[in-house]
């Protein structure tokens, strides 16, 4: 934790670590240490910068991003609503918790064929993204709601609060930092979920690019699609970390 104590040092370590990974990836590719399937990073970047490559990645990246965003929204809405309902109606809580745990224990790979027949090829990425998000959000919101200080709870009790007022005036605002905690974890999960969902026959998206590049042995395309997915995931994480900081300052 000494590194965290000095932000300058921590940032330096971070940049240094990232640089090491990049250089290592380049060298492994350059000397073909991992075979032909691992191209040098410069080849991947060269492909990304070609007009055809960048156009293809942009089009499909946007599709994945859209599916992930829709899935994130759906998962968040369902999970927050479910967690709030389990709080207000305690009878529902054990059932909801078990249902969420079971849903989470199901491998998405196993669910995907089922979803393709029910939700359809186009919507499967969104649904898998929503499923990946739902569990995390449900757990963080449940713990956020449970984290209400006794003194605040007493205040609402002596004011004669109804259950709904307690939720609106105390538990929801109190859970705002947890909500953004959940989002920082969920946003990358949504990108990953959407990408996996696209493997199973989606008409467009980064997942489709990955599968077809793999089957046609287009290594630069495969790696650049992975690179874009990673970049999206990281960007989503960074954006939501900023929101989370604001939320902690405002509601903490």
């Amino acid at each position: 934790m000494t590194a965290a104590a000095r932000p300058g040092t921590a940032a330096l370590f971070g940049i240094g670590g990232a640089l090491l990974v990049v250089v290592a990836a380049q060298l492994v590719g350059q000397f073909q240490l991992a075979g032909r399937a691992w191209p040098p990073l410069t080849d991947v970047l060269a492909y990304v910068t070609t007009p055809a490559g960048s156009g293809l990645l942009l089009r499909n990246g946007l599709v994945t991003l859209t599916a992930a965003a829709q899935g994130l929204l759906l998962g968040v809405v369902v999970a927050v609503f479910g967690a709030a309902l389990a709080l207000v109606v305690p009878m529902l809580r054990p059932g909801f918790e078990r249902f969420a745990a079971i849903l989470n224990a199901f491998p998405t790979i196993a669910l995907a064929p089922l979803l393709i027949t029910t939700a359809g090829r186009e919507d499967t990425p969104m649904v898998i993204a929503a499923l990946s998000v739902g569990f995390v959000m449900f757990v963080t919101m449940t713990s956020g709601f449970a984290n209400v200080p006794a003194a605040h709870s007493d205040v609402l009790t002596v004011l004669g609060s109804s259950r709904v007022q307690r939720l609106v005036r105390l538990e929801l605002p109190r859970a705002v930092p947890s909500f953004f905690d959940g989002l920082t974890l969920s946003a990358p999960a949504a990108i990953l979920g959407a990408t996996i969902g696209e493997w199973f026959g989606a008409p467009k998206g980064l997942g489709l690019l990955l599968v077809s590049a793999m089957q046609n042995y287009q290594m630069p395309l495969l790696w650049s699609a992975a690179l874009v997915a990673t970049a999206l995931s990281l960007a989503a994480y960074i954006v939501f970390v900023q929101f989370q900081r604001i939320a902690v300052r405002r509601f903490g």
């Binding site: 003194a151 007493d154 004669g160 109804s162 405002r250």
Partner: protein, 277 residues
């Protein structure tokens, strides 16, 4: 108790809905907390106390003597293990449900995300009433927080937070006001001012009030009766009637009678603490 009967009559004129007679009746109340693994802690033993409507009662005692437990029983936040407690002839939490209870807690318990104004407006919102802006402004002025309306609790000093918390407790003009060492965190000057303010508010609204404090002077400036409690388990050692005329200004606090009573109660507290140790 002739003074308190007159006061009760006045209160009836002001609030016809309230019942005459006792506001708070505590009969043989015991409170035993379970500490787990079969161990228990007896906080209160056989407390009997009757508080008339419109009366101001201060409870003093050594720390950990169950003063706050008495308050929590009256607020309906805890139930006695044995014995009974009635507030306005009914179950204590009924009063809260009717939005007729005001409590200022020892730790201010303001909502950290809400401004001073929003915290004081909270009781209106919780009660489902339209926020009376004039009343909120009046309370802000009363507790001396003008200029800090939009500040959030963490931007305020401890004393300011406590004052905001008292304003919140007063917001709905409650029938019963419970104050748990609300001035403990204040400096001597602010404390005296808050005591005077509280005496003034009480003089105007005659709210039945229970004040838990460890400051004998404060208890004598404010209360009609002072209840002295012993150390754990809490029992009532003495109930002293305070007859000084109101308002109790410097003439009162400088009088030999006042000092005698302060000395007497302080001696009693010292004794009680000695027993506790």
């Amino acid at each position: 108790m002739s003074t308190s009967t007159i006061r009760t009559a006045q209160a009836e004129v002001d609030r016809p809905a309230a019942r005459p007679g006792a506001a708070v009746t505590i009969r043989g109340a015991e409170k035993v907390f379970s500490l787990g693994r079969g161990r228990t802690l007896q906080a209160l033993a056989e407390v009997d106390l009757e508080i008339a409507e419109g009366e101001f009662v201060a409870i003093i005692g050594p720390s950990g003597c169950g003063k706050s437990t008495v308050l929590r029983l009256a607020a309906g936040l805890d139930t006695p293990t044995n014995g009974a407690i009635e507030v306005f002839g009914d179950d204590p939490h009924r009063l809260a449900k009717q939005h007729r209870l005001g409590v200022a807690f020892q730790e201010h318990a303001l909502l950290p995300w809400a401004s001073v104004r929003a915290n004081i407006a909270l009781p209106f919102q919780v009660a489902g009433r339209r926020v009376d802006k004039a009343r909120v402004d009046e309370l802000i002025q009363l507790v001396g927080l003008v200029g800090f309306e939009d500040a959030r609790p963490k931007q305020l000093s401890g004393g300011m937070r406590q004052r905001a918390s008292i304003a919140r407790a007063l917001a709905l003009s409650p029938d019963l006001l419970l104050l748990d060492e609300p001035f403990g965190a204040l400096d001597a000057v602010t404390r005296r001012r808050m005591n005077a303010e509280l005496a003034r508010i009480w003089g105007e609204e005659k709210i039945t009030t229970i004040l838990v404090t460890h400051d004998v002077d404060e208890a004598l400036i404010l209360a009609d009766r002072v209840v002295v409690m012993t150390g754990r388990p809490g029992r009532i050692r003495k109930i002293a009637k305070v007859d000084f005329p109101r308002p109790r200004g410097f003439e009162t606090t400088r009088s030999p009678e006042f000092h005698d009573l302060v000395d007497e109660l302080t001696a009693l507290l010292d004794q009680v603490e000695g027993v506790d140790d």
